[in-house]
């Protein structure tokens, strides 16, 4: 394992310190407990939006703190959800009097820790609501399981929900937007190589030189099936089919197509994936009206990609286009 780190125990602390040094114009950082907040938090009268989760998925979530997106992000240890303390502290700091929304990826640890923090915040008189993000079609959904995972679609939920809060929606309305985005976005990923968690020092799983993992999770959790490497176009077809069937997406839909890099995949490959995905959608009469390509929800240095498709309407499109100013996503200002 070769990594540009010092003591593995200090990875998150030092990375957050670097983030603060680089982006002091956009964020301020609390070091104990650790969280990243908008430099102008709390914004009076605005619903505060807090997200968070294990580290190792950067720029998710810290890279999305700022005007028009998140008010705070709470990074846990690598691939481990944060504890309630920093979530509570972040919730207090961003509360501008209009309540706080927790955007939580659907993992037992994240759900439980955010739940505890929300209980504590409520006890202090802060109105807190949570929306659970579960866009991953690789996992069968069922009342009897932990349900689907929250993966790259989270970025879209955070951007669009953040825009709704920024325009002044009240807490119920912001919750409704978040639920709407989550209900209309579907994602599926593939891994070509595993990642190595710093403190573990060993790959999270092992793939042969000619194997790929279809339906991989963002923590290196095994996916749907392990198959032999195929041409990019064939892989894209495998990822896209269950996504399109699931909602389902149909001819006439306008969509945002998001090709996400898992961290170790070169940009040329992401664009090759985008090309094929756009082609398939066009064949089905689905129009790509917005797009996003890049490393936005990563799994450390894992090579691979995920494809997310979000069904747009006028409201979601204009919220997507609204100005945003964060370290990792910025336009309009």
């Amino acid at each position: 394992m070769k990594k540009l780190i010092n003591d593995p125990k200090n990875v998150v602390i030092e990375a957050v310190a670097g983030f603060e040094a680089a982006h002091g114009d956009i964020v301020r950082v609390s070091h104990d407990p650790i969280f990243i907040a908008r430099s102008d938090a709390p914004v009076h009268g605005k619903v505060g939006i807090v997200s968070g989760g294990g580290s190792g998925h950067e720029p998710l979530h810290g890279g999305f703190v700022g005007y028009g997106m998140l008010d705070a992000a709470v990074p846990g240890a690598v691939f481990t959800s944060p504890t309630p303390d920093p979530i509570l502290a972040a919730t207090q700091v961003v509360d501008g009097g209009a309540g706080v929304l927790h955007l939580v990826k659907n993992y037992t640890g994240d759900v439980l820790n955010f739940e505890t923090a929300a209980d504590l915040a409520s006890a202090e008189g802060i109105e807190v609501r949570a929306v659970i993000i579960n866009d991953d079609v690789a996992v069968k959904d069922s009342l009897y399981t932990a349900g689907r995972r929250g993966v790259a679609g989270t970025v879209l939920v955070e951007k669009i929900t953040g825009a709704a809060a920024e325009r002044g929606d009240d807490l119920a309305a912001v919750v409704a937007v978040a639920e709407k985005v989550n209900s209309r976005v579907r994602t599926m990923g593939v891994a070509l190589t595993p990642c190595v968690v710093p403190h573990a020092g060993e790959p999270s799983f092992v793939l042969a030189d000619d194997e790929i993992e279809i339906g991989i999770g963002i923590h290196g959790e095994p996916g749907r099936e392990r198959i032999k490497l195929e041409p990019a176009d064939a892989i894209v077809d495998r990822l896209l089919a269950p996504i399109l069937d699931d909602l389902p997406f149909v001819a006439g839909d306008a969509v945002l197509l998001f090709v996400n890099g898992m961290g170790g995949t070169p940009q040329v490959e992401l664009y090759i994936v985008f090309r094929r995905a756009a082609e398939v959608l066009a064949e089905k009469g689905i129009t790509v009206t917005r797009s996003l390509v890049g490393n936005y929800t990563t799994s450390l240095e894992m090579a691979g990609t995920s494809i997310s498709v979000l069904k747009l309407d006028e409201e979601l499109t204009s919220l997507w286009d609204a100005p945003v100013q964060t370290a990792a996503l910025r336009w309009g200002r």
């Binding site: 294990g54 846990g76 240890a77 690598v78 691939f79 481990t80 959800s81 944060p82 504890t83 309630p84 303390d85 993992y107 037992t108 640890g109 439980l112 820790n113 739940e115 505890t116 690789a138 996992v139 069968k140 009897y144 399981t145 932990a146 995972r149 968690v197 403190h199 573990a200 060993e202 999270s204 799983f205 999770g217 923590h219 290196g220 959790e221 095994p222 996916g223």
Partner: protein, 211 residues
Amino acid sequence: LTLDAAWTVGWIRRSAEVLAAERAALNTLDRDIGDGDHGENMDRGFQAVLSKLNDLVDESTPGAVLKLVATTLISTVGGAAGPLYGTAFLKAAGAVGSARCLDAAALVALLTAARDGIVLRGKAEEGDKTMIDAWTPAVNAAAAAQAAGSAVDEVLLIAADAAASGAQATEPLIARKGRASYLGERAIGHRDPGAQSTSLLLRAAADVGRA
């Protein structure tokens, strides 16, 4: 054997020792069917507990120790295990109240409350391939032994044995909760890391009890 505050502290110290020793093994179990951090999470939490234990005042009670363990685990472990074990110790503390010494009945109440706390938070049932599959057999065996008049050290031993069998019995299961539930049939053949850490914790209790 007296289950007083000193015993409780001894149990937790021994647990911290064992979890540190088994850290890599728990990570490996979790890597197979989860995300590979369970040993890391437990070790981080119990090391934090260790440094907190020194702050305890002398005339402490088992309940006070358990409460300190609970709040420390909640604020340092994270992941699924943090809130689940945290709640377990919190409910256990509640169950033993301010008693200075626990008899067999109190011990069973402690274990039952811990298990119930985990079910309350995590909503897992037996057979879902979670730590509950170690807790519930332990609680049942302890309750039966106590009803049959066993002494506390025997109850502890019986609970630890039942937890160990329970952990082992998770191996052939398909998971319905936690990360392993994403795997479907591919979880078969692997032991649940949380069930294993539960087994280690209860074994530590029995070992300290015997010492």
